[in-house]
Symmetry: C2
Subunit: 338 residues, 2 copies
């Protein structure tokens, strides 16, 4: 259904996915009203689930708490080009490259309630969401055709969401995405010269310095990164070196879910309800456990808008110093939003 393209001029990968234009949009002002496909009772509006989660003891009653379903408007598909509306693009003399947009695109419906943000979920509910991330990544890793699985969440129109009911997405691709490759290459370079993981080192330094530190739990820590792109950008890392998110234990996932949920609640306390994204950065499927890479979650509040300079320069303008954002976030008590 979709096509993966790269050309020399832009040195970028693009997924051309025509069917994505058809998806419903809660935020489109001129859109026709539609019923929420993620609410209970409307399961027929989504493909059959690939995983379903229940609260302990509730399974027989059939009240799902989290559902993972194939995306009805996928950016990549298992069949690749089969069923394409057109053949692969005309590829010209070596400058262009096109192949089938093969992969898996899933949606994690995070709650039976029509809520908007991770902070609207109970800690138990959030825990099921993070458990589903782990399970799906672990399952997708078994598929030899796939090279990477990216878990991300879009909240609000400015965050690129088209439906408001709380959900995350997983896109597993047959290639390792550019940003992931760049990040790992930078970490590998540091490891080569310094003999240690740059994430572990940064974590130690940020905990010691304190100015950009936001908070920590038993196994996780959060800080506002020194060169954050967005106001209040916050990163969460396991305190102990680990390159694969999907090897976290259920206890760690419950702790992580509560920690991330609380951080988002703090950002919302500081800024009011807002659009945001978060992205789990974990290692590619086809690598051994890496000493130089450290999985992490990037929380990106979307209160600024990217403009011509950012698109042209690849350099971001952030009007809020990370030190200032971290001080505000530290000042909000943990669990205030629980």
């Amino acid at each position: 259904m979709s096509e993966l393209r790269r050309d020399t001029l832009s040195d970028r990968w693009v997924i051309v996915a025509e069917n994505r234009a058809d998806k419903p949009d809660d935020f489109e002002q001129s859109g026709i009203p539609h019923r929420c496909p993620f609410c209970p009772g409307n399961e027929v509006d989504t493909p059959d689930s690939v995983a379903t989660y229940f609260l302990p003891g509730e399974k027989p009653a059939g009240n799902w708490q989290v559902r993972v379903v194939p995306n009805k408007y996928p950016a990549v598909t298992p069949g690749g080009v089969n069923g394409n509306r057109r053949p692969l693009a005309n590829v010209l003399g070596g400058l262009h490259f096109a192949k089938e947009g093969a992969g898996i695109h899933e949606v994690v419906i995070e709650s039976p309630q029509h809520v908007l943000s991770l902070s609207d979920l109970s800690p138990e509910q959030a825990s099921l969401v993070f458990l589903s991330y782990r399970d799906r990544l672990a399952a997708l890793r078994q598929d030899r055709a796939l090279a990477y699985g990216m878990v991300f969440k879009n909240v609000g129109a400015a965050g690129g969401a088209s439906l408001e009911h709380a959900h995350s997405q997983i896109i597993a691709t047959t290639f390792v995405p550019t940003e992931v490759r760049r990040e790992i290459a930078a970490a590998q370079q540091y490891y080569k010269t310094e003999g240690k993981c740059c994430y572990c080192t940064t974590l130690d330094q940020e905990l010691a310095a304190g100015v950009r530190f936001v908070g920590q739990s038993q196994s996780f820590a959060a800080f506002c990164p020194f060169a954050g792109r967005f106001p209040y950008e916050t990163w969460v890392l396991p305190r102990r070196h680990a390159s694969r998110f999907e090897e976290s234990s259920p206890d760690q996932l419950a702790e992580l879910a509560a920690f991330v949920r609380d951080l988002i609640g703090r950002i919302e306390s500081a800024l009011g309800p807002l659009a945001y994204n978060y992205i789990i950065h974990t290692e590619p499927f086809d690598t051994p456990r890496l000493d130089h890479y450290h999985w992490h979650i990037e929380i990106l509040p979307r209160i600024t808008r990217t403009a011509g300079f950012e698109w042209g320069a690849g350099c971001y303008i952030n009007p809020v110093p990370p030190e200032e954002a971290a001080a505000v976030l530290r000042s909000i008590p943990v669990g205030k939003t629980s």
Copy 2:
């Protein structure tokens, strides 16, 4: 006033510019109404102009047509750190890098009329705008401290504009921005193996193939790039190899302004009024004329929203095949919007 930062973790440059948070915003719904600082009579609301353009014969009457002024809320400043609210950030053991955000940030006020898009200007007015781009880039190139000058335009809230009165911006930096370096490196690599400019080659191929071709004038051609990030993304190139935009002649600039204005008018005819950016990609100040780089303008309609996948993957999902966009744009007669 601002600070340039890079850390190893993100492998990105960020400009931390606190004063940018203070700028007025026409699109902020909760904002206090303010008078437009770009309208005639309100010149006192902007710093003194560094260049002013008049229609032939109008200079004595003082009716300016285009004004170039220093940005009142600059991302970079000539003084660098002087007047900073705080000292440079605490830099930790080699992983972080910070320096003064030195440079020049100017605004091109494109018209005395409170209009919104380049397509609202007369061809003569648009010509003065492009003339001002050239003049400012040529002047900034003389400053040995500056490495690059980026001309860009933001239209509409989704395009990152904060004021609606038609304007462009120029940010000249003491470093060559990441995206420009990547683009030039990819072009250099192609030149090394193929012995020719990849832009010249692409142009020849796109003109011959026709499917992504949009239109041409005597000296310029436009096509929708094979791996465009955004629906209806359109690139404009000089048909004859040239690496420096600012060496265009006044006649060429007039032709280019009319051509770009018409292309934007066609995109607006196809999609309705929309947010967009355009960016002039020209070679760095500190290089000789490059055989492997070809200046160009990227027009980026902003009808889709970047979401978690794009931020995490550096890979874009474009729901409109460039071939389809080009066919629509070709079908709209040239000059329809004049």
